[in-house]
């Protein structure tokens, strides 16, 4: 299991950030400023929380990272790529380097757990033999091997989120973005998912988790990025963050 997500390829210099935003502004056509002069560097292997009230800019921040939106100005670098210079045709390759999970899981209800995970490989042209080898590995990683042939409706919320995490990891991405992954889960199941994210992080994957869950943020004692009205108001370890709030 550990070999599954061990970072491969060229070793990166210790100061290279896997996510880097520099002077990023994002203004919508109606004049609303979603992000204002954001500068952030996240080194490889970090586990970072992104917090802030609704409308603070968390979703915009994430959309910029997966190049669903382009900033009005500034630079965005993800997994060593400058997203502003990237052509449309290069976006799929970027997204294979980023795993993403959401609060609402976004599983296909007519497909089984196995099929949901395999789908992410099939639609990127992965050979069938590789799909057959890779899917069981991922289901083992997230502890869903026994539920492989269940439909999402037959799973608990936590199991659905685990399926979504397995799907997010199909391309062995160096970055995992989790947008409110525990938002729909009870406290016990939430900790179950956090535990899984920590395991994935320990295997070398950088994790950026947007959350409202103050308890988890305080307990984890990791780096916290706090957004308010599009401004980065805090960028510090949880210990310092906790002292303030």
């Amino acid at each position: 299991m550990t070999s599954l997500l061990r970072r491969r390829g060229r070793p990166q210099p210790p100061d290279a950030s896997v996510i880097g935003l520099s002077g990023v502004w994002m203004t919508y056509p109606n004049g609303k400023v979603a992000l204002a002069d954001i500068t952030v560097d996240i080194p490889p292997g970090d586990f970072v929380f992104l917090v802030g009230p609704s409308g603070a800019g968390k979703s915009t921040f994430i959309r910029l990272l997966i190049r669903e939106q382009m900033p009005t100005s500034g630079r965005v670098r993800v997994a060593g790529r400058d997203l502003l210079r990237m052509r449309r045709g290069q976006v799929p390759a970027l997204r294979r380097r980023i795993g993403i999970v959401f609060q609402d899981f976004r599983l296909l209800p007519s497909k089984t757990v196995w099929e949901n995970v395999a789908f992410a490989l099939e639609v990127t042209g992965t050979p069938r033999a590789v799909v057959r080898e890779r899917v069981p590995q991922l289901l083992n990683l997230v502890g869903l091997h026994e539920h492989a042939h269940h439909l999402p409706t037959q799973l608990s919320g936590g199991e659905q989120q685990r399926t979504a995490i397995a799907r997010a990891l199909v391309h062995d991405p160096p970055i995992l973005i989790a947008d409110e992954p525990t938002g729909n889960l009870d406290p016990v199941t939430s900790w179950d998912i956090i535990q899984l994210l920590i395991q994935i992080n320990q295997l070398g994957t950088t994790v950026l988790m947007a959350t409202h869950n103050q308890e988890i943020v305080n307990a984890m004692r990791r780096r916290v990025l706090a957004l308010e009205n599009g401004h980065l108001v805090r960028d510090e370890s949880t210990a310092a963050y906790e002292r303030r709030y």
Partner: protein, 297 residues
């Protein structure tokens, strides 16, 4: 290998998509059939009329009635001079006796007997001029009107002009009708594929998030549109093939279309129906998917 996987994936997803949205897909296919049946009917009628026109044109000639009392020598001289005119292929001299014999034969064909009650009938001698091309009819007629030994000239040019006029009207109206039906079909396919695209918005979103390329997202939908066109074309070709033998006597009798020509024509028609069916299917779905994908990143 990668391309084969891409094609296999796209075809399978198109097939699944077609049947998942069966009612809309079949409705779109039915409109494709309607359009192609109209197109086939138009094509058959125009081809038949063209064939008929060729037949009539091949018979276009000029007939000149000659002045009474021409001697054999004068008639021979006239025939030689007319034969030398540009565009004249052949000149036949029909003497008054031959003209009367023809008239009797024409009556006999109708089962009647020519009877003038014993009167002595003298028909006019004529010359029948075959032309190299129907277009020479006007010039040859003009040359003949200047001659004093010719009393009246008749050609079938007017019939040809009328037929050409009818064909042009049918062609214009037919193309207009097929065009309108074609547009309806295009909108039906655009709508069908758009519904298919929206019903799979979640799938498309996931495909984008996990890094599927635009081709992997777009082609299954385009193939689904092509499938509507393909099935529509196949059904229409089967329908045309089924009625082809029964309408053969009509094609020969009404349009003078030889059977050998009609077989070749059937192959051309099948190709046309395939081409138009696939083209409309591909164009409609391409427009639909393109507008959807352009609106999302």
């Amino acid at each position: 290998m990668g391309f084969a996987r891409f094609v296999g994936f796209s075809v399978l997803r198109a097939w699944q998509g077609f049947w998942r949205n069966a009612m809309m897909s079949l409705a779109a296919t039915a409109t494709v059939i309607l359009m192609l049946v109209l197109l086939a009917a138009l094509f058959i009628v125009i081809a038949g009329l063209n064939s008929g026109l060729e037949f009539v044109e091949s018979k276009v000639g000029v007939t000149a009635e000659l002045q009474d009392g021409l001697t054999d020598g004068q008639a021979e001289e006239l025939v030689a001079e007319v034969a030398a005119l540009p565009g004249v292929a052949d000149v036949d001299y029909i003497s008054p006796d031959e003209a009367l014999a023809r008239l009797r034969a024409a009556f006999a064909e109708r089962g009647e007997e020519l009877d003038f009650g014993g009167a002595d009938i003298q028909l006019q001698a004529t010359i029948e001029i075959a032309l190299e091309e129907p277009d020479f009819a006007r010039d040859v007629s003009l040359a003949l009107t200047e001659r004093r030994d010719v009393t009246r000239i008749t050609t079938r040019q007017q019939e040809v002009d009328t037929l050409v006029g009818i064909i042009n009207v049918i062609r214009t109206v037919g193309i207009g009708a097929v065009g309108l039906v074609g547009l309806t079909v295009l909108f039906m396919i655009i709508n069908t594929i758009r519904i298919a695209v929206y019903s799979r918005a979640r799938e498309i979103e996931i495909m984008r998030l996990v890094g599927a390329s635009d081709s992997f997202i777009r082609w299954p939908f385009i193939l689904e549109g092509i499938l509507c066109g393909l099935i529509g074309a196949m059904v229409t070709i089967a329908l045309v093939a089924a009625i082809w033998e029964p309408i053969q006597p009509v094609m020969v009798a009404v349009f003078q279309m030889p059977t050998s020509v009609s077989r070749e024509f059937l192959a051309t028609l099948a190709l046309l129906l395939f081409g138009v069916g696939l083209g409309v299917g591909a164009l409609g779905s391409w427009i639909s998917v393109r507008s959807y994908l352009a609106g999302s990143s």
